[in-house]
Symmetry: C2
Subunit: 256 residues, 2 copies
Amino acid sequence: MRDRRAVWKNQSEPPNLPKDCSNCAIRDATVCGALRTDQLEILQEFKSCDRILPAHTHLYRAGERLHEIYNPLSGWMALYRILESGKRQVLQIELPGGFLGYQANLDEPMLHSAQCITDVAVCVFPRRAFPGLLERHPAIGSRLIGMVANEVARGHDQLTNVGSRPGVERVAHFLLQIYMQLRQRKHAMNADVQSLPLTQEMIGDALGLTPVHINRILRQLRERRLVVLQNRTLKVLDLGGLRKMADRSQVDMAVF
Amino acid sequence: MRDRRAVWKNQSEPPNLPKDCSNCAIRDATVCGALRTDQLEILQEFKSCDRILPAHTHLYRAGERLHEIYNPLSGWMALYRILESGKRQVLQIELPGGFLGYQANLDEPMLHSAQCITDVAVCVFPRRAFPGLLERHPAIGSRLIGMVANEVARGHDQLTNVGSRPGVERVAHFLLQIYMQLRQRKHAMNADVQSLPLTQEMIGDALGLTPVHINRILRQLRERRLVVLQNRTLKVLDLGGLRKMADRSQVDMAVF
DNA sequence: CGTATCATTGACGTCGGTCAATTCGTGTGG
DNA sequence: CCACACGAATTGACCGACGTCAATGATACG
């Protein structure tokens, strides 16, 4: 099934870079926002290194036991799972500022895979350090709980979308959600054109629809002059209309 | 839409009971498992009270600002959301041992509602106490992160189910997942008959299918001698077959 | 250029939804 | 104790959203 899907092989050894938190662009958006600037070395002490991964390689795969925890700094990733049937479910599109590799039981194998969509830079922490870190700095713990709780809320949103909305609305909601995230991150409130490096197949795997059907839906959205997605570029033509189509209750937006 | 669905009104004032952690049946399964038995009073000090809610009432509703956090002690609850279209998405079936009412931003209104399916007992903590609690007892923080991380994993599982599996497998997976939880909780490894107080409509709202179709699928599962769900009772006839039908990779089970 | 991946479109099939009628089960009041 | 009511479960007939299959373009890359 899906023979067309590329099997991307993992590069052998991703390069590790020296750790340097001083000019981290997304500090406030991530765990480190829990600390004051003059406390930065606390986290830097625990941190292992930075790492660059080329597009299409995996940060980790389902079944692996991880010894690290990651903080994406730049680039796009996809968390996904493969079923026995061969179908792929994309669980989440990860943008910088998230938090990857954490699990309740740190010694259990990962339940999903994390693959780079574009080139990606991640900040690497050793897992073992975390209990001690939380012990010494409860503020980081609170921050983490908050971030993970946010993941739960995003998950609910995604589940609601896939479980309850018809195709067009589902795609509209998905695009809008990513668009809002991008716009917020860039502090560019009027950038109605955004780069969106997702294939239609990936969008389909995220929304439980076939790539063919995604294509037809995108055509509809284009013809209705709501959004245009072409050449990895997303243009929002009618934000209000898109919102309406996405059937978002005002409550929905609170997550972002 | 869905005029048939009962509109259950909230009882006026649920009774508060005195707090007493000493003989809590599910202590190890919940936050409190982070502490030793002789430290129990630490948590009991923070705790507000216990509370009993009748079936069909709400613990909280989407849009409300909560000042409390809850620990279900007994009974079944459903977390859900209503879309503008009128459709309801059940996000999760809550059994004792979970953790309700937490959000990244404690002051924001809740994004979903929590309704009692059966009579329910919850253990109530004031939200405001939590920062201080975490400060003093980082172990509780770790525990919380673990519990919330577990929620994320369950969410992924649910999303995968709804997004990637055809109807029969979807229902099989759902029933199996609940069945495993129940069996584990009761430490009754051979109880292949369990009480399951969910209507077919509720199952449908959880899985993104209509009650009518759920009914037809249940008939199939019955005719294939895998499970029988009748009169709020779940009988697993063929656990192996059910697993196979649910298309679970071994990885799936790790969550429970 | 030749090849690989992604996007696009048409024809057709099916899974699950809709509508509606009937039955079942349980609780309630006479 | 029975009659009734109301929600839930069950079933059939029909329909539509979405999937499948397959062919054709468009783009990028070595």
